[in-house]
């Protein structure tokens, strides 16, 4: 055994100890970061509640120059655009997921899925740019509006941005439904179409719901695109008609105004407060979505035997 004697010398195991330590720290870092983000938002955002009283925060006038900090129009703007985007992204995202997973020939799927996922990676500023230069003039003419920079334009673009998320996650979920489910249904005389909607999609419903939630999360959080195409008017939307007028979202407000405020001013703190609202919304959306993801298959493969 002589050749082994110089092993496990202390420097070797010390190195291994340090590496393992780093791995563990990195492992827990995600928790630390989420915690830190929340703490910093709270530290900078909560003073807003002291400096502006709650009733004026929860009002419908956003005009910071004259110290009107009502965030309702911004929340309303985010809601109307997200709603519109969801109405687009859900049918198209799930429809194309069903198509790719259940109907399309193999090669089509291999071609289109990566293509759609590329859209998920396109910088949102590029989409906003095209939205401004191409989509909004087109919609203005088409719908004969005074301006093309509307909630509707934003919703369409945001829907497009959310589709890859919805499609990709939903497609994975559909793909994971065992072949035997479909075979059993087809053997009982159902058509493929009936099998899709009565067997496959219901069997994948938790994954499909996750897909929808993640799509919504993506839409609420999107910043640059909406800032560039929605006209940025902080008007509280009061009905479906507002879909065709300019609005302003929470994200766009932060992005547009944070650069110009004095650090520590009331306006600065209010923008962080909006950040808290956004953080909490995304937390709620993602925790809902993630309850499903956890039914992950375990890797407790037995030791070789």
């Amino acid at each position: 055994m002589s050749i082994f004697q110089n092993f496990i010398n202390s420097s070797h195991s010390k190195r291994e100890f340090l590496i393992t330590l780093f791995i563990k720290i990195a492992g827990y870092s995600a928790i630390v970061f989420v915690g830190m983000i929340f703490i910093f938002l709270l530290l900078e955002g909560l003073p807003a509640v002291q400096k502006v009283n709650l009733t004026s925060l929860v009002s419908s006038r956003w005009y910071p120059i004259e110290d009107y900090f009502g965030i309702l129009p911004l929340i309303g703007g985010s809601i109307i655009i997200t709603l519109g985007a969801t109405l687009i992204a859900v049918p198209f995202g799930i429809g194309s997921a069903v198509y790719l997973s259940e109907i399309a020939p193999h090669w089509v799927r291999e071609l289109l899925k990566p293509l759609v996922e590329i859209l998920g990676g396109l910088p949102s500023v590029v989409l906003g740019f095209l939205g401004m230069l191409v989509l909004s003039p087109f919609l203005r003419k088409l719908l004969d509006l005074p301006t093309g920079l509307t909630a509707f334009t934003g919703a369409i673009l945001l829907g497009g941005i959310a589709i890859p998320t919805v499609m990709s996650v939903a497609e994975d979920a559909l793909d994971a439904v065992p072949r035997s489910y479909r075979d059993a249904s087809l053997a009982m005389g159902a058509t493929e179409w009936q099998t899709i909607w009565r067997v496959t999609v219901p069997a994948a419903r938790s994954g499909v719901l996750t897909a929808i939630m993640l799509g919504i999360g993506r839409a609420i959080g999107e910043t640059m695109t909406v800032m560039m195409v929605t006209g940025n008017a902080p008007i509280l939307p009061r009905g479906i008609g507002n879909l065709f007028s300019p609005v302003r979202t929470m994200t766009a407000t932060i992005a547009a105004e944070m650069g110009e405020v004095a650090n520590g001013s009331v306006h600065y703190h209010v923008l962080f407060l909006i950040g808290i609202v956004l953080f909490l919304i995304s937390l709620a959306v993602n925790i809902t979505a993630s309850t499903v993801i956890f039914r992950q298959k375990k890797r407790q493969e037995r030791i070789l035997s």
Partner: protein, 285 residues
């Protein structure tokens, strides 16, 4: 019960509808890329790529923005890659299936979902102001790193888990330690998958605007940054600036900038996916 003829018609109609919907999704994607390619190409020339902006950015080139985005991507990788891979190793090789691990997973999912502009706020609060890094490449890279982390962690973990368990058992059985097993077998085998994940993460960092708005980006800075504590121009922010903030901006320059950004990001995407598919074809297990 509907007649079989009816059911057949229903199916045909349904299939056609879904096919159409998919086309409706895919064609605009291809359209966006092609459109920018066509309108952007005329702007591309040597001066545009390597020159400094002139005449209030209405002429000249975008070199500082290209360099800035390159530095930011590099800076992001310095922090995000070791931490992301470390966390993935922890989850795949060390963590047992308990509460703490669940909490880590929830945290990762939430990190992935936090709006990018909120990362910007956080970066402003922590790095720019509290730690006093100022608007700088350092502050911006760190902000982007945390945003990129979940992408790197999840793809890397997936790659690690794909390495057959039997290799680990064999390695341990001939007297390797856990870390030796990871270092010599698991990591090399998972490398292509890890690279793919890292590049996809960095791709996201390269294209983001909102997180760098208040942490690093300079509106106009006609020189190159020479330390991590300098501010810098960056492609995505530059595109935002010239398309919304500068009146009388030649459209050609705007499309040219969009094209450069698109090529920067898409080439990363293509590299990442081709590494993945090439490795899949060559894999021995």
């Amino acid at each position: 019960m509907k007649s079989s003829h009816m059911r057949h018609r229903q199916q045909q109609f349904g299939f056609s509808l879904l096919t159409l919907m998919t086309l409706f999704t895919v064609i605009p994607i291809a359209g966006v890329v092609i459109y920018i390619l066509i309108l952007g190409t005329p702007a591309i020339n040597w001066e545009f790529l390597t020159g400094f902006p002139r005449e209030g950015m209405r002429a000249g080139g975008i070199w500082p923005a290209i360099v800035g985005t390159f530095y930011l991507t590099l800076g992001t990788s310095v922090f995000a890659v070791p931490f992301g891979i470390g966390a993935a190793i922890y989850l795949s090789e060390y963590a047992s299936d308990n509460r703490a691990t669940q909490l880590i997973r929830i945290a990762i999912i939430n990190l992935a979902g936090i709006p990018s502009v909120v990362y910007g706020l956080f970066g402003l609060g922590l790095f720019v102001l509290f730690l006093n890094f100022g608007t700088s490449i350092l502050a911006g890279s760190l902000t982007l790193s945390i945003m990129t982390l979940p992408v790197i962690i999840s793809t890397t973990e997936e790659a690690l888990r794909a390495v057959p368990q039997a290799f680990r058992t064999v390695s341990i059985s001939v007297g390797a330690t856990k870390w030796q097993t990871i270092r010599r077998i698991v990591l090399p085998q998972a490398l292509p998958g890890i690279l793919t994940g890292v590049i996809l993460g960095l791709e996201r960092a390269a294209g983001e605007t909102a997180p760098i708005l208040f942490t690093v980006a300079a509106f106009f800075l006609p020189r190159l940054p020479n330390s991590p504590l300098d501010a810098t121009m960056a492609l995505p922010y530059h595109l935002y600036v010239i398309s919304t903030q500068v009146p009388g901006m030649p459209i050609k320059i705007q499309y040219g900038t969009a094209l450069v950004l698109l090529v920067f990001v898409l080439s990363m995407n293509i590299i990442a996916t081709s590494i993945r598919s090439r490795a899949r074809a060559r894999r021995q297990w």
